[in-house]
């Protein structure tokens, strides 16, 4: 501070002095901010943290593999000195031939994939080296606080220098309790690398995650978006020995179905307990409401998903339920896999022209429960277990609460006389039924101005071409089946497509939609979304029966048909691959009581894909999906009789 000793200075001199001192102070301020402002100090602290962890980040190179994709180097984090590395599963495409890892001396060494954490999308690797790595310490739970600096590191651009992105911790307990969230830019440039704090400790391993799915690539579409995820290292370390022993970690399943509806509103009331599941073994019952998991109180279904989402198979948890105003507590050990659900069959096809309450029978399956209790075409099913069932869609939903061999009572009207019978539900036969085409309504068709024949349905925002074949006898009041045709790579031949399907489509009330790959030489898995858009477009124009939307594809198009079917369970009811196998990467999702999916596979005996395709169908059958397989004699493709059989299968997809 400046102190004025001389009080006798003339005023103007005093002013002058003040002016000079202020100038001095301002200059001082400026030179200080230039050298040592808070920003620079902070930057130095952040760089200090980065250099502290940098040696624990390794560059990985994944060579070979069946799919093209990210071919560049990826990142991993050292978790023990002898060369165990955690990384994101997204970095490892199927059937890769080798992994190379950078070593502390700057060399490369081979690495082996030891185990997977399927719940958190991570892998553990072991580098084949005697060199000693440096580990980094984890941030404890209590110090993971929203708002703190976080730096995402990778070793993508260089083997020596880490690449970095700066952000903050933006949320904790994300993706059903598995991950923390950051606004640093998370992308293939740092998947597998660490998210660190300003003290040079590790928050977690960066990996794509999605609240909607558990495939390795789910969540990659959010790259660089400001939403990125890291699995806390502190959560993984207790399981490191399991992973080192080569044992995979899986999500833990309980085996209860909850009342469907808004998961943020409804309590966790159990409507079904799967047979042989941990829930059944632990004594949970239909009608129980789950109110506590371990020490976490549960009042809504979403909270239950949070409490269970981060649990591994093998974990034992305490569950408390409310049962008739009493609280019952039980311990259950979660499992990796549940006994798959199988849809039951009553054995009837509904008359789709029938509008009054109930379900009018169009066709009875041979040797089915319906035939055994002597139901006949024309009978109208009105009640199941004495509860009224509005129409055939409601009837299908009611039956999805049952499995084969379950018993129920059924009431039907014949000549307006009600009859009630008891029956035991059966299984869906592998053979498609032989049925004649559905009758058109007896009423006159309303005037319709929609285009028919071969029409162009290209979406303006997509570069892919798309055509459809609309039956010339199309009527807006007739629900049509939709067959989405995904051709094998090559130039499209729309005239041939029309020759094959136009007449049959008119007969069997089916629209054929043919979206085409952007590159005629290949289908890209990401085109699944484009295919969905084309289907939604058709749904918005034409009358489509939601029980009979089928994806049919040949070779690479057939592999795509599997992907489309599994990605859009809410829409697709059938998948019909022709000379194609289930893609290696496609995880078979559990059969869902509500979202039906059936398969109709055309196999070529001579094909090099025959073995792989048979293996895929075996997996689907084991997962209790209805699978129909037909052997084609002709290499040239489908004959008209093959197509008619197939259309009859499509026509029967609204079976009950």
């Amino acid at each position: 501070m400046i102190i004025f000793h001389n009080q006798q200075l003339p005023l103007f001199k005093q002013l002058l002095l003040i002016a000079i001192t202020s100038t001095f102070v301002i200059t001082l301020t400026k030179s200080l901010t230039a050298q040592d402002d808070l920003l620079a100090q902070e930057e130095r602290a952040l760089q200090q943290a980065v250099s502290q962890v940098a040696a624990s980040v390794v560059q990985l190179e994944v060579l070979g593999g069946l799919e093209t994709g990210n071919d560049g180097p990826v990142s991993g984090l050292v978790v023990s000195n002898d060369g165990y590395i955690l990384s994101s599963a997204v970095n490892f495409r199927p059937s890769f031939t080798s992994i190379l890892a950078s070593t502390p001396s700057g060399k490369r060494a081979t690495a082996t994939l030891v185990s997977h954490d399927y719940n958190r999308n991570l892998v553990l690797l072991k580098v084949n080296t005697t060199e000693q790595y440096t580990t980094a310490s984890p941030v404890p739970h209590t110090e993971i606080i929203v708002g703190q600096w976080s730096i995402a590191l990778g070793k993508t651009y260089s083997r020596e220098v880490v690449n970095q992105s700066l952000g903050i911790i933006s949320a904790t307990n994300r993706i059903w309790g598995k991950a923390i969230q950051t606004d640093a830019k998370i992308s293939p440039a740092n998947y597998g690398g660490p998210l660190i704090d300003i003290q040079g400790r590790v928050y977690g391993i960066l990996t794509p995650l999605s609240p909607r799915g558990q495939n390795p690539t789910d969540g990659t579409d959010w790259y660089d978006s400001g939403i990125g995820f890291a699995v806390p290292l502190i959560d993984i370390l207790p399981h490191l020995d399991t992973l080192k022993a080569g044992k995979d970690l899986h999500s833990g399943l309980l085996g209860v179905s909850l009342k469907s509806g808004d998961i943020y509103d409804l309590p966790a009331e159990i409507v079904a307990v799967q047979p042989k599941s941990p829930a059944r073994t632990g004594g949970l019952q239909k009608g129980d409401t789950i109110i506590k998991v371990n020490d976490v109180l549960i009042s809504r279904q979403a909270q239950l998903r949070h409490a269970l989402g981060s649990q591994y198979a093998g974990n034992t948890i305490a569950i408390s339920v409310k049962r008739d105003d009493q609280v019952v507590t039980t311990k259950v050990t979660l499992v990796e896999k549940l006994e798959p659900y199988e849809h039951p069959l009553l054995g009837v096809l509904p008359d789709r022209n029938f509008e009054k309450p109930g379900t009018k029978i169009r066709h009875i399956y041979m040797d089915s429960p319906a035939q055994q209790v002597k139901l006949q075409p024309g009978d109208i099913i009105t009640h199941i277990n004495n509860e009224a069932v509005a129409d055939h869609n409601a009837l299908r939903l009611v039956l999805s609460n049952f499995e084969p061999l379950d018993e129920l009572t059924l009431t039907y009207l014949r000549n307006n006389e009600p009859t009630t019978v008891s029956l035991e539900l059966g299984n869906i036969p592998q053979q498609a039924p032989t049925i004649s085409p559905h009758a058109t309504p007896t009423t006159a068709a309303a005037a319709d101005t929609l285009a028919t024949g071969l029409i162009d349905l290209k979406l303006p925002e997509e570069k892919n071409e798309c055509v459809a074949i609309i039956p010339t006898n199309y009527r807006h009041d007739v629900p049509h089946a939709l067959i989405v045709w995904l051709q094998a790579p090559g130039e499209p031949d729309n005239e041939n497509l029309q020759a094959q399907w136009a007449a049959l489509g008119e007969q069997y009330q089916a629209i054929v939609l043919a979206p085409q790959s952007a590159d005629p030489a290949r289908w890209n898995p990401s085109e699944v979304d484009f295919i969905r858009k084309t289907i939604d477009n058709v749904l918005s124009i034409y009358t489509i029966d939601r029980n009979r939307i089928v994806v049919h594809g040949q070779q690479a198009g057939g592999s795509m048909s599997y992907l489309v079917g599994f990605s859009h369970r809410d829409l697709i009811r059938g998948v019909a691959p022709l000379d194609a196998s289930l893609p290696i990467r496609a995880a078979i999702k559990a059969n869902d009581p509500g979202e039906r999916l059936a398969f109709y596979a055309f196999n070529l005996k001579e094909s090099k894909l025959a073995k792989a395709s048979a293996a895929g169908l075996k997996r689907l059958t084991a997962a209790k999906y209805p699978v129909t397989a037909v052997q084609l004699s002709d290499k040239a493709g489908l004959s008209d009789s093959d197509r008619i059989q197939f259309l009859q299968w499509v026509d029967s997809l609204d079976r009950i």
Binding site: M1, V25, L28, T29, L32, T33, A34, D36, D37, L38, L39, A40, Q41, E42, E43, R44, A45, L46, Q47, Q48, V50, E61, L63, G64, G65, L66, E67, T68, G69, N70, D71, G72, T97, S98, L100, R108, A109, T110, T112, N128, T156, Y157, S158, V161, V162, N163, Q164, S165, L166, A184, K185, S187, P188, A189, Y223, D224
Partner: protein
């Protein structure tokens, strides 16, 4: 923190406190610094309007003044491919821009407007940035600013420094040299030609065009370091000629090595990306002498990563028969280096 830094801080601390008390800015030093930088750069920025406007091609980009006489540095793009280039200064004044020269290899162009005494960046005072350094990018992102509205500022850090040709095939761009990779989402439509500065507003780079990584489909946010451009800019302004085009085809040797001449037979190419496994070795060949064995997996050729049989064949065709080849192979879990001599 380093000892040196702690020591220096302890000397400065009393002064620092005094300053803060006097200026009364104790809590807002950081905000002020970035604010100061953001404001001082605006008067040096220009908005460029030219050709485009069809099929998602924007008819605008960014640029900045590099001389008081109206020289402007920007990227070379279709926007400049017109007789009428409009330049809008920070104060809203409009000028017609003339192309002084361009270097397609650097994807850079120098424009000029007819004016004087303009605020500008001096290329000779540009700074070099290290990974982790805080940065600002200033550009007319998405064309959101018009007339005298200031350009858009993003802040972030330097994520990495790399060269675009470090990964063959990943970045298909005429410019293959060093770049700053940024963690700000800086390279969107309209941003090309914008300025990259440090946190004090000192010029460090020129924001490049939108560029997608062909290998993983992600977009790259990057800038060309000014040092890469200085000579070219000086040449253009001085009227010295620069190459108008650049031959992108790599010079292929007339007599390259072949797998056959080396004595290596690979497994048949049956997949999109067949792993490059050795099937058999010709007896008495170079490969046999140097110890190649069936089932060896070829990983690197002259430090180029070989991810498939196809890549191997392409890379070999680029190596002249008289040159030696270094090969890294994987045999079981071991990496083995082999050098095959030239012939």
């Amino acid at each position: 923190m380093s000892r040196l830094f702690v020591k220096r801080l302890s000397i400065l601390r009393p002064l620092l406190i005094a300053t803060l008390v006097l200026s009364g800015l104790a809590s807002s030093s950081q905000a002020n610094d970035l604010a100061l930088a953001s404001n001082t750069v605006q008067s040096k920025m220009v908005k460029i309007y030219g050709a485009g406007g069809l099929k998602g091609l924007e008819a605008y980009q960014s640029g900045f003044l590099i001389s008081g006489d109206g020289h402007i540095l920007t990227v070379w793009s279709y926007v400049l491919d017109t007789d009428y280039i409009t330049i809008v200064l920070d104060d809203g004044r409009k000028f017609e821009g003339k192309i002084v020269g361009a270097d397609p290899r650097l994807e850079m162009a120098v424009l000029k407007i007819d004016s004087q005494e303009l605020d500008h960046f001096s290329l000779s005072k540009s700074v070099v940035l290290q990974p982790g350094a805080r940065i600002l990018t200033i550009s007319n992102l998405f064309g959101v600013a018009t007339g005298n509205e200031p350009c858009s500022v993003l802040h972030g850090i330097v994520a990495a420094t790399t060269t675009l040709n470090a990964r063959r095939g990943a970045f298909k761009s005429p410019y293959q040299g060093p770049v700053y990779v940024l963690d700000a989402i800086s390279n969107n439509p309209g941003a090309a030609g914008g300025a990259l500065t440090d946190s004090h507003g000192n010029l460090a780079g020129l924001l490049g065009k939108e560029l997608r990584n062909a290998q993983n489909g992600t977009w790259l946010n990057y800038a060309l370091p000014i040092a890469q451009l200085t000579t070219a800019v000086e040449d253009i302004i001085a009227g010295r000629t620069r190459p108008r085009s650049f031959d992108e085809t790599v010079k292929r040797p007339e007599n390259p090595h072949t797998l056959k001449s080396l004595g290596i037979r690979m497994v048949p190419d049956v997949l999109t990306k067949t792993p490059p496994f050795v099937d058999s070795i010709t007896r008495k060949s170079v490969a046999e002498q140097k110890g190649f064995q069936p089932d060896d997996l070829i990983l690197y050729l002259n430090n180029r990563r070989i991810d498939s049989l196809n890549t191997l064949i392409n890379e070999i065709a680029l190596i002249d028969k008289i040159d030696h080849i270094t090969v890294v192979i994987q045999r079981d879990n071991n990496l083995i280096n082999i050098t095959l001599p030239g012939q």
